[in-house]
Amino acid sequence: MTTKTSSNPMVSHPYLVREVVKETYDTFTLTMEPETGANGTLFQPGQFSMLWVFGIGELPISISGPPSQHDKLVYTVRSVGQATHALVSQDAGCGVGVRGPFGVGWPAEKAQGRDVIIVAGGIGLAPLRPLIYEILSNREAYGRLVILYGARSPRDLLYRKELAAWARHRDTQVLVTVDYGGLSWRGHVGVVTTLFKYARLQPSRSTAMVCGPEIMMRFVARELEGHGLARKDIYLSMERNMKCAVGFCGHCQYGPHFICKDGPIFSYEQLRPLLEKHEL
């Protein structure tokens, strides 16, 4: 799939917020459309945009909507600081500047014909959601889909209705866990790696795509490797302080890579030597 970016990647395009949906107590999904009614944006699952909140600053946010929906851009944002709080506080009709999409997405085409194991932690489900849409809308092209999702507590779970709907698709297994549960929680409790013993995996014919806090991804990658997946078949989405988004400024340098341009998706084979380096 090709993606369309502005001829000058540093120039923001005006978008209008059309809808803000509260997913959890601190996480919101914003749907935006081009202000001018111009053509929409093509993107690959896993790519991100730079969102400019006027008067506040610019934020790198992964696209979380369906890749087939070109006229809208959807972002799921956790309000954790001044800029993200300002972004999720936008009302319908407010303007936001959008640059991008940027970066290398999930290897969706390369995974065709294979089983796909998706492992998400916390807000990490958002950058994986376009990939799930892509697989489910092109179901014949993929083998079994296994989605393992972990969150901190039941009230932190994203996209609850969609998780239930995804589980109803054929040859699709969705397992959800929380790190801590209250007495009313009837589901699984334990870190996301504890779900592997319930997953129906065929490691030799599987590609895994993982997104979540970096420590969680390290544990998950080790678990996947332990189950027999090759390092080249495990992909992780990395996060660093991205500013220019095109590899000029160096803010997001990670060893020899720029996360914004060379990533954010990398194979575990590429990342493994870097993941255990102190303070990198």
Binding site: R78, G81, G190
Partner: protein, 153 residues
């Protein structure tokens, strides 16, 4: 008809266990059922049993003062509940509650401890299998303690 011997031999925890040892286990085993909502074990009580879960789900709970209990893990079919019977002071450290109706094989820890003392080959097999479970749960607990999804400002 499923015999205790067959159930124990086919349970993942005892996979590939020597049939002679399975026979020794059967002498300490019984079928048990817990209705949803009942406590299987309670913190501070003597720990003289462990359970191989055959059906249902068990919540392991911690009671914190002035708070409702917190579920720290759940155990399901094919998993094992309880290792405090293996080490002094033989007391449960957590509560465990049946979330759904549970069918399990209960193994008498006192009986098994005696057999392990008499037959160290059996004792080594049992300890190796428990060490594997303890290692897996310790790693999961460490990751849980890191609280990786929290906002660290």
């Amino acid at each position: 008809m499923e015999t205790l011997e067959r159930i124990i031999a086919e349970h993942p925890f005892f996979a590939d266990l020597d049939p002679e040892f399975v026979a020794l286990m059967v002498g300490c085993a019984s079928n048990v059922v817990f209705k949803a909502g009942t406590y299987i074990l309670k913190e501070g009580d003597p720990a003289n049993t462990f359970y191989l879960i055959r059906a249902g789900k068990v919540a392991v709970e911690v009671v914190a003062p002035q708070h409702k209990p917190i579920i720290v893990s759940t155990l399901e079919v094919g998993e094992l509940l309880g290792w405090s019977w293996l080490m002094p002071p033989f007391q449960w450290k957590f509560h465990a509650r049946a979330v759904a109706d549970v069918r399990a094989i209960a193994l008498d820890g006192k009986c098994l401890r005696t057999k392990c003392e008499e037959n160290h080959d059996l004792g080594y097999e049992v300890l190796k299998r428990f060490a594997q479970i303890i290692e897996e749960r310790l790693e999961a607990t460490r990751l849980q303690l890191l609280d990786v999804y929290a906002v660290h400002r």
